[in-house]
Symmetry: C2
Subunit: 194 residues, 2 copies
């Protein structure tokens, strides 16, 4: 249901509208790997169609994602998920082709169940976003779930919101979704490249 | 497409999720009648199922809506649309049954093609919203499209946003949707009664 108090139904509905089997998609923040698995199922066919790139700075996140994918994907699909143990600000060093990716997904904040002191940070997130804007194809999207409850969270949210607000309106449609009567609820940004 | 630069695709998608044939729905701002016609097609069956109430303060809006409905609906459907030439703040005087309506739709601002000096106003809109919260059934929604470009528009937007922000989060889920890089674009509020 569109208004469920979780963002995940809404965001998955959006991904489904945009991703076709055979697409290249990026999970910029693997975390526990749930989003990576969902994105992979949408983009990867059984006949070597589609590629997924996943990024995380924390080795525990890469390990958790890898073992989740081993369970959730077929052997053939699993081969086409490339996990990169590096900061998402390095997106552009790993993926060279411009205007090619259907979705770049960001789930900001800290690793659920991990060390809360280790979070994504405004400067590297904005750097990664900058890369993502050139990687995404026309008709493709960048999705960001931004949490504001943890230290630095509100600054990071303001930085990504500011970034989206400045994108040229003839090239990008930048939607922002929030729950008004739950002020600490995460906010969803969807940046569509025209 | 979910991110089309018009709200109308998004809002119609939301109405479709919530309205079933046989429901009672309300268009609180008939205007030219386009929304009334769409709502009527979703709620009204051919066998006397469903009721639509439409409100507008301007007689020209009621006339335009009436002739559009004559064209768009079957004779049997048309009989079950009740148009009220009165301010939407009188909603509660016309519809008595509480927790019964699936959708109350507001499209704020002035009548397209009409007199731009005649607009909805913060105080009566908030009064109408208050009525709407008691009419809407559990699982039903209030949708508001709020324009901020005309005189008084921003005040009215702030008033409805403030109203939604104050609704108890255990009873209501109040979503807000906007385009960040088009600051004068209308904003969409969807208030779901749990």
């Amino acid at each position: 249901m569109l208004f469920a108090p979780t963002f995940y139904i809404l965001i998955q509905m959006i991904w489904r509208q945009v991703i076709s089997v055979g697409d290249t998609v990026v999970d910029a923040t693997c975390g526990n790997g749930h989003d990576t698995a969902i994105l992979a199922k949408l983009a990867l066919g059984e006949n070597n169609e589609g590629v997924v790139h996943g990024f995380d700075l924390q080795s525990s996140a890469i390990e958790k994602t890898s073992s989740l994918l081993d369970k959730e994907l077929s052997t053939n699909q699993r081969k086409r998920v490339y996990l990169h143990h590096t900061c998402h600000s390095k997106l552009g060093q790993v993926i060279k082709e411009k205007n090619f990716v259907s979705v770049v997904a960001f789930n900001l904040g800290y690793l659920p169940g991990g060390e809360k002191g280790i979070t994504t940070a405004s400067n590297t997130t904005v750097e990664a976003l900058m890369c993502a804007t050139s990687l995404v194809k026309h008709g493709g999207i960048i999705t960001l779930v931004s949490y504001i409850g943890h230290p630095g969270g509100r600054d990071e949210y303001e930085a990504v919101r500011d970034f989206a607000t400045r994108l040229a309106s003839d090239k990008w449609i930048c939607s922002h979704w929030e729950l008004l009567n739950r002020p600490l609820c995460p906010r969803l940004l969807v940046l569509l490249k025209k």
